[in-house]
Structure formats: C-alpha cells, structure tokens
Symmetry: C2
Subunit: 479 residues, 2 copies
C-alpha cells in the first residue's frame, strides 16, 4: 500500500482491502463483511457512544428486527419515504405469511406503538430510550463499503417529551453529544446543519444533521436528529395525562448515529498514504513492539521485548511482532493497520536502556528510557489524539468557502469541493426549485443552514433566483 | 408482586411483567420487546462475555444478517435441520427478488464461504472469530419470553483449526469459558453434556451443551459447542496449505452462548418471591438510597442523601429515591427490580453517623458508619455474588438424582424433576429408540453424558431395553 490519498476513491478502496477492514466478496449485493480489524474499532465506538447516551439519561432496549406491514403503513409520509427501500419477509419455513413483515429500516414504527402503552402520566416523561442495532435498506444507488450499503450498524435514540421545549432542548443535547463523541473523542470535524424543508426525514417537522467533509471535498452525513413534533404521536397514540388532567400528545425526537459510517469517516479523514490512523483509544493495537533481531544477541532481545510487552500490556493493547519479517516489512504492516505507537527494541537499545518510540501519525521518533515507557506512551497517545483532531480541524477550515454567484459556486465545488456558503431565497418548500437548479448546474446539494449560528444575509440576493436572500445555506457535493 | 416462586411458571410471567423486563404486546407473534431493565443487564453480560472470548484469542466481526438460498442449501444435513424454521426475504421495495434470501438462523453458511477466502496457509490458523447478533428462527412450539422465541440475542464464535486436536482443545476451552462466565460470574450452575448422536446440531460430528436446571425441575440449554469436524470445511472449501506442501481441510468448532436466555436463567434461579435478584456487577442499580423523610428534618436528610449519592456514584451505579412514596413502597419497588443494596438514611442515622444497609438476597441489615460505606458496599457486593452462587450450587446438587428403572426415573421427574442419571445402552444412533421410550413414558429427554467426567456403568443394564449399559446418560424434562 502506497497509494496517494489525493486519489481518494482508489485510496479508500485500497485501504478497505489492504488493512482488512471489510470483505466485499459476500455473495449478496450491497452487503459486506466487517472484518476484525474494523469490527474491533466499531465495537469500541459503540461502547463509548452508548456510555455517552446513558450519561445523558437514555436507557438501552432491544426492539424486534421485524415490523408488521400495518405498523409501517400507519404514518403516511413515513411509509412513502421508506416503502421503496424495505426488504419484505413473506414466508417462514414452508408457510406463506398472512401478514407480511419488513426488516426494520429504522424503528419508529416498531417503538412508538409500545411507547403508547408505556406512557401514562406526565411522570413517565421524558422517555429516553435507544437501541444499538443493524438496519436494512434496499439502497439502489451505487454502494461503497461502510458509507452506503444495504445494511448498516447504528444506534437509534427515540425520545418523548411533554412539550416542544423538551424537543428543542433535545436537539441541542444531540448536537452536544455529536460534538463530544465525533469531534472530541474521534477527532472528526463536522457542521451541524438544519436541513431545508424539502430534505427532511419522512414524517419529521425538522431534520438536523452533522455533516463531515471527506478528503475528496464531498460531504458525508453523520448523525441526524429529527424533531418529529407530534406527527408520530398522533398516529401511534403516544399520549400522556398531564398534571392538569388533560390528555396531551407526546413531543418526539429521534437521533441516529451510524457507527459503521462514522468509522468510515475516521479512516478517511485521519489516514495517510501508508494506511489507517486511529485515535489512540480506538486503536486495536496501541503499542506494537518490534524487536530488531540480528543473529547476535537475538535471544536477549526477544526476552527483553517480552518483558516490555508484559509490562505495557497491563495498561495498553500491545502486540509484539516476533515474526521473521524484516524491520521494514514490519513497520509497513503495522503502519498500514494503524498501530498507534511503535516501540523498537534492538541489542543497542538494551545497552543504552532506551527504546526508539515512533508515533503513527507524524512518524516522529523519540528515545524513551525503559522505565518511562508506560507513562510516556500514555502521553504520546494523548498528544496524538489532540494533534489528529487539530490537523483535521485545520484542514476542515480550508474546506469552508463562500460564493455569491452560481459561477463562483461551481468553481468552488469543482476546485477541491467543500462546503460553500451561499445566500439563498428560503429554506421553506418554495426554495426547492433553486436547490434543484444548483444540483443541475453544479452537481451540488443544499445541506442546510448552520444550527445555532446566527448568520443572516443582509442585502444579499439568492444565488439562483435573485430574490432577496433570507438565509445562508451551504452547498456541497455529497456522498 | 408477591407470588410464591413455587408456582414457577406464574412467578416467571409475573416477574417479566412487573419488573418490566419484557413487553409481550409487540404485534408479531414470537417477538418481544426487551425493555431497559433487562436490556441494561443483557448489554453488560454481552460486554463481559465478549471480553472473555477476546482474552482467549477470539476477534470480533460483523457478518450480514441475510444469507443466500444457495449458501443455506450447501450443507445437506444443515439445510434439513434449518429450512423448516427460517424466515424468507423474497421482495425488496417493489421488486420480487431473483434469488431469495433467509434471515440468519445461525451463521455457519454466511461465515464459512468467507473463511475459505481468508485462510491460505497454516499460519492463518487457528482462526477464531465471533459476532454478537440477533438470530431468527420460525419456532413453532409455544414461546416463552427470553427462553424460547422467534428472535434471540446471542454470540456465535466460529473457529478453524489445523487438526482434530485443535477442535478437541477448543471444546474444552469453551467449557471453561462457560464455567468462567455462567457459573463464576453469573452464579448459574450447569452440567456440560456431550449430547447423544441423535441430538446433534445439524451437520456436526458432536454437540456439547451446558444445561442448567430451572426452579420447576426442567432443564434449560445454555451455550452449546459443536465439533463440526471437517463436514462444513468440505462443503465450503475451508482448506489450508500445510507446511508439508499438502492442501488440507480445516477442522471447525462453533460455540453459541445465547445471552438473552442466560439472562432468563439468572432471573429464574436467583430470584425470590419479592422479585429479581442479580449478581452485584450485573445490577442496574447497585445501590439505592432511600431517604426516610418525616416532616421534621426532611431537608437535612435530603441534602445528606444527596451527598452520599454523589460519593457512592463515583464507584457504583446509584439511584436515590426521592419520591414521596412510603418507605415500604420504595423497599418493595426496588426489591422487585433487583437493586442490589439498599442504603436507608433517616434523621436518626445522620445523628449516629451510620446508615442502615440491606442486601437484596438475604435482606440482612447492618449498620455501616458513613465513612466506611464506599468500601463496605463493595465487600457486600462480593459477598452477595459468592452467596448467590453457593446457594444456587447447593440447590442444583439436590436436583441431581439417579434411577436404575423406568419407574424410578418416572417418579424422580414427577417429584420435583432434575437431572436423573440412568444406565443406558448407547449414545450412538441405535440408542434413539430407548430415548423415545423415555420421552413417551416419562416426558423426559436424554440430555447426554457428562463431558470430562469418567463415569462408566459396570454390570448395569440399560434402563429401557435391558441390554448391557455402555454409558450413563442424564434424563430430564426440558424447556
């Protein structure tokens, strides 16, 4: 592997294969096998994300993978949005089923009828429940492993509040959780957008989503959060008896971080020409010990490397590479696989009582006295996390552009891509025709306005129709 | 809730409902919703079990939930075993699928074709991979929540070795993992059986399984482990180039702890008339603080309870019950829900600087000085775990019986049930007719012989046919 990351699509496909993240040869279209090198990290991400949601009062549940046709069809907009892309279960054993079922594409219609049974009084609210699960969608666009497929691995949190204020506060909390996990913990920058009205989740009042930027200048949607208002509550009878004795509808939100896709963003944004780079706390191998074996003194080096391995294993995930491969081969292999820190031990190092320590991201070397290794490795891990995040942030900042005309927009998306801020007539439904025009002329999509950022165009005209602009929208090519 | 556990079936149904473990009102037959009180524990069990498998060299993966008809049909015995109980996906969006797919009932036929691609040389072995997932089986027998349903939550580990010795060592390792997790960690006793030939997993050479005993004297199968020999390797071409230059078949095992069912065993075996009891490290609420509020001094009690809550929350999962319910109501509620340790704080306790501490299992009280609480609670947790396990072991020992005649066997299973050791002609296929007779006459099943225990009948006759007995088999009624 030494493919320049500039050819991002080739680089991504190569890294998926060479670092053994996914196997695409599974014999059902759109379904891939997530191999151990990726699964270990994804599993760690799940645990961290679940813990974060639980700290914010969500509780775990497991809802069935199958949903009855009747439930799917209850919410009109929702069924229109999802029916074209669901897998149907029509038979079991040798029996044709009387009522067909779908494999969950998302779980609103599985969960809310139960919420209706669980919620009685105001004291049952807020109800904050999540599940970690697979969902399935019959995606007809071209698939890309971990980014777009027919099966993905996510968390979905579904909450009910007594009023709209609860919903709006939850949108903010979701944004904060996204910041805490995806940016602070995983080092992936993003913008939290409010989507325009024509690009909402089927059945929602408003949709918000964290979009990151991939190295090829195309936006990738990470978690989205939906203000469902009382739309689903009406349909599924999610009601509570208020303290004033009146029966009221529940106000709902849902939030869906797709862990497999977030992993794809981590790999894409942090990686380099040598392979993958992971934040220290996510790495499968935090420390790889590479003994440098020459004929003379090999036994001593091996035994010393074993001692160091044992010592470091108490605190870190450590692998010692005792294979007979050359040092160069070992370095390449572990760099490809994203081992965070390499500790080289040769005969000379034993004499000097110092090891050569190399961090994966900058490949900087330093000499660390043996007795300082446990502590220093933790520090380097922290430094690496910080520097990965900062480097990503710096790059991300260069991907924020502005345009006042369609020509400028076109030139921006064609020259490196990124998010291009444009004055726009309206994010209400009437704005859709201008968005369509941008799609046709620039192959770019309107991603929405920045959530929580007060930026209103003054005296600007819509970049498409020339009417007075009421909003700044961000345009980008997208995955 | 105050149903005597002697009426086990009623007790179980009541506890599932009252402790809010599952909701059975989901509108697809055989599918239940696992509610937060159960999901939290199951999630914790998953993490512990995954960590144990990883310590033993297994790595995580995620394989697709769908399997092509072609793959299912490749192994003849396997398809015969599973075809009657699979859910079929025949349609996606509006398209009838050309090749039908099944929802995985177990993942051999998803995983082994990939293993065939992943394994080249002997250096690729052993391959030890697991996944944590849901599986679906169109169960036609009566369902019971968490015990038998159409959807369950398990781990499946699938390993490949260079030779039979590797397989046999893995069976032993699986047995040890079962002991470590289910008995030592969860306090659930079991016998690890080798199943008779007529009761093997479809496609296996030998099946081993850990059976526990439910309070009503009926056996419940917990993890099973299968020696697949080279049966699947032949079909799915799982081969490796040996160091001698010869291409050889891989030898395989699989191991399937069903986490949702193990949870059912924990609930059933440890619970009492008051509700559920969980090992300390599995409890959702390790400490419940119940302030005893009287009109006088209530503020002081609340503020003190808050301080204690904060302090203990650093080490334990703590809930403080500040509701206006009576102490008696609170005690019942938290006992029902399996809160492990209750700390009562009233005005008098603040004066004496001691709290009343009550452990859930024995409901023994002790007075603990405030400053000792953090340490003492950890100790009580340990004591509770040990005593839950020992109590279960003692009871389990009383459920091991022996019989030399069908009458004795019938009387044993009808009087409290349990595992009844009987001399038996043979565990080869020819023994099946004798097993059938036992099923007819005693409604009991032959569960197999004890793995790793050398007990051979000498001079005994088969309890059914009267031929010379070659094996001791254990009979039991079963779930």
């Amino acid at each position: 592997m030494d493919i320049p990351k500039e050819n991002f699509s080739d680089w991504y496909n190569a890294v998926i294969k060479e670092a053994e993240l996914c196997d695409l040869r599974y014999n059902i279209k759109g379904f891939v096998v997530i191999m151990p090198n990726a699964a270990d990290v994804i599993s760690r991400m799940y645990r961290l994300y679940e813990d974060a949601l639980e700290r914010k009062g969500h509780r775990k549940s497991y809802f069935p993978a199958l949903i009855s046709e009747k439930n799917l069809e209850a919410e009109k907009e929702h069924v229109e949005g999802f029916a074209p892309e669901v897998f149907w279960v029509t038979k079991a054993g040798n029996n044709e089923l009387e009522e067909k079922m779908i494999m969950r594409p998302t779980s609103e219609t599985a969960m809310y009828p139960m919420y209706s049974l669980w919620i009685n009084g105001r004291c049952d609210l807020p109800l904050k429940i999540y599940q970690s699960c697979q969902v399935w969608r019959y995606e007809t666009k071209a698939t890309k492993p971990l980014i777009r497929g027919r099966e993905f691995y996510w968390i979905e949190a579904h909450n009910v509040f007594a009023d709209e204020a609860g919903v709006l506060a939850q949108v903010k909390e979701d944004m904060e959780t996204t910041e805490e996990m995806i940016h602070q913990s995983f080092g992936v920058p993003f913008i939290f957008f409010q989507r325009p009205q024509w690009d909402k989740f089927a059945g929602a009042v408003n949709t918000y989503a964290a979009d990151t930027m991939m190295p090829d200048g195309k936006a990738l949607q990470l978690p989205s959060t939906h203000n469902l208002g009382t739309n689903f509550a009406k349909v599924f009878n999610v009601k509570y008896m208020d303290d004033d004795g009146e029966e009221k509808l529940g106000w709902q939100t849902c939030y869906g971080p797709c862990i497999s896709r977030i992993f794809a963003a981590i790999v894409s944004i942090h990686g380099d020409n040598k392979g993958i780079i992971l934040p220290f706390h996510l790495a499968n191998v935090q420390v790889v010990i590479t003994p440098i074996l020459r004929k003379e003194g090999a036994d001593e080096v091996i035994s010393f490397a074993q001692t160091i391995t044992e010592q470091l294993s108490k605190k870190y995930k450590v692998v010692a590479d005792f294979t007979e491969n050359t040092p160069g081969f070992k370095y390449n292999f572990w760099e490809l696989n994203g081992a965070a820190i390499r500790v080289e031990i040769g005969a000379r190092d034993i004499e000097s009582r110092k090891a050569v320590v190399v961090r994966r991201d900058t490949r900087e070397k330093e000499f660390v006295p043996f007795e300082d290794l446990p502590k220093r490795i933790g520090e380097i891990g922290e430094e690496m996390n910080k520097s990965l995040r900062e480097k990503a942030d710096e790059w991300f900042a260069t991907m924020l552009k502005e345009a006042d005309t369609l020509e400028e927009l076109k030139s921006a998306v064609e020259n490196g891509g990124g998010f291009v801020k444009v004055p726009f007539c309206t994010d209400e439904l009437e704005g859709e025709s201008c968005a369509e025009k941008i799609k046709e002329e620039c192959a770019a999509n309107i991603r929405g306005s920045r959530y929580g950022v007060n930026e209103k165009p003054s005296g600007k005209k819509c970049i498409v129709c020339g009417k007075d602009a009421t909003t700044y929208q961000y345009a980008a090519r997208q995955y």
